[in-house]
Symmetry: C3
Subunit: 266 residues, 3 copies
């Protein structure tokens, strides 16, 4: 099967040579690979945020895409590397929870612990497995190597520390999955839980913040500078300020826990 | 005809997954597309700056290139999407003026209103047409779809609010098209209007700023730290500080209006 | 021979259209080129840092790769452009020292002064040779043009101002080659000189800084927040803070000179 696309998600940033070096390694193994940067701005070592970046993007990539998710606070330790196949896409990452939401939510038809050291760049450094492990293995997969050739099948994987959003009597306990460059606060609250928080006035609030805002269908529903909640393009509740920065206004950052509550009457 | 290159200009930045997602969509439709990031640092919703980024880059791309210019403050409203063909290149953008300088300056041999909803990702979100509309349509164009298949021909398009530079008795009324990462101030004053402002001493000034500087042919013509004016690589007057930051020194930013005047004698 | 990969190292940043324009020019000449961004964040005009970015990345790119290194404070002056072939890879850059460490360290089997103005974009601007000179020449090389066709052979090249690291009685005189986005301080001290500085307690210090730190094999060898020295993934001594920012803690930046000394007993 054709698997030309390799999609990269890392916390390396674009300032240094690290991502470029990974691409050099990939093209040395598979000159036909088409490499796409999903994002390299995952906050450093933030496994939950890396997981969000994957969830928010994977549906938009073609079947056969190989995702290499290198958010790896345990690099150099004995944490495992795993690879899964789900709905025709491949997911290669440290076994630290970064793949857990995808594997739990969608299931998988293959899951292996990667142990083919002969595929790695040697010697393997203790600090840069993106180059020495993930790049060459992703390139082999994209060149057609069978996932079963990467190592033995395993039956479980590490879960994320961060709990999933859940509705309770007080509201929806959720988290901030990502703050984007515009200051939009993307929560972990999925569309299906919004009913559990919104009251008869159609407004939402973040517990502890002195602000209540309407759930709307498009930004233009509020005046410039006003807060709003919207089910964003990735299916989760987002809090925004029209033509402004909601994260700064509410003092929220990636990884924060929040309690979403009925915003009452304006 | 071969049209493998898709050139992207957006205000999305590279921090988030948005640009990567657009590329995933493109490669799903046309695996052979060659995607080039022109810039994703257009100031948010700044249609005139997006227009400048296009003007400054398009001549350097091969015939057949499809430019997708996604600077789209009206996303989710009823603003139209248009596509033009000019000198063998394709331009796909919201009809908000971002294409106007190119279409006015160069003409076009086809201009359509894009209305082929069957080509879009469904459902179309209200916030991310880069993914749902522009990416799949650009990919189809690059795969060979005829521009006439995108929708009905139209005879006009929205103009930019920002006026073109013009010479008057007081000097040249112009604007700041772009401030680059080095602090160079790229004005909207084209080379042909420079004669209208420069006096016998070969110097220029910005009205209201206490500084006058020479028009030079290369940076080395002034000492380090000094202001200069130069006709830049894109054919417009630029104001720079040799080894310094002119935008900061003069307090100018993208979108500012300026009056360029004779700089007098030093 | 196949030479599809063009690797770009510049100080242009990604904010502006400059890098995108170079890619447009390249794809116009060689539509099959595979362009990789190594980094565009070389500090402006910092030839030694550009040289480091090249040294740290080149081994990871396939044979036949064409490196275009555009860190060019002398653009528009009469500085030469050179091209070398070394171990099957091609290096195209201004003759300002940026290639010197690679050519000195590895030798080369061809070195020419590039003078084929017919290959350049005309007219050649005085400010943007990345677009007008380096992009089209790199594209020709990647399309198979012989290096000998670029100009006459030369027997020497400009050296870097920055001296190589050397061991003396007081310690190892070295420099800061690069500060990465995580604040890791990558020195110019190669692994082979580490013995010259480290004493019996296995610790290193930077002369003039009130801190001593151990040489370790992995970050986990020290507690979070502590300084450490490690031979990094590119073979040079790096100074880091586990889960912190060493550059900020020590007040060091790219290009600084340092004296590495025995760190004594803790």
């Amino acid at each position: 099967m054709r698997r030309p696309v390799i999609a990269l998600i890392t916390d390396f940033g674009l300032h240094d040579v690290y991502v470029g070096v990974m691409k050099g390694v990939i093209l040395g193994v598979n000159p036909e690979a088409r490499i796409v940067d999903v994002t390299h701005s995952v906050p450093r070592h933030d496994v939950a945020a890396g997981s969000y970046a994957l969830s928010a993007s994977l549906d938009y990539f073609p079947e056969g895409t190989v995702f290499a998710v290198v958010v790896d606070p345990g690099v150099g330790s004995d944490r495992a590397v795993i690879c899964a196949r789900s709905e025709g896409r491949y997911f290669l990452a440290p076994d630290n929870g970064v793949l857990a939401p995808v594997l739990t939510g969608r299931g998988y038809d293959a899951l292996v612990r990667v142990e083919r050291e002969d595929l790695y760049l040697r010697p393997v450094s203790s600090t840069f497995h993106g180059r020495d492990v993930f790049a060459p293995v992703a390139a082999r997969l994209s060149a057609g190597l069978d996932i079963g050739a990467l190592g033995r099948e395993v039956s479980d994987f590490v879960r994320l520390d961060a709990p999933e959003a859940e509705a309770g009597p007080e509201g929806v306990k959720a988290g901030v999955a990502w703050v984007d460059a515009f200051g939009n606060v993307i929560t972990t609250c999925p569309a299906r839980l919004v009913d559990a928080v919104i009251g008869r006035w159609g407004r939402i609030a973040v517990h502890g913040r002195d602000a209540s805002f309407p759930l709307v269908a498009c930004y233009e529903a509020v005046p410039p500078g006003e807060l709003l909640a919207i089910v964003g393009s990735s299916g989760f509740l987002e809090i925004s300020v029209r033509e402004g920065n909601a994260a700064r206004l509410l003092g929220l950052g990636t990884g924060d826990g929040i309690l979403l509550v009925d915003g009452g009457r304006m």
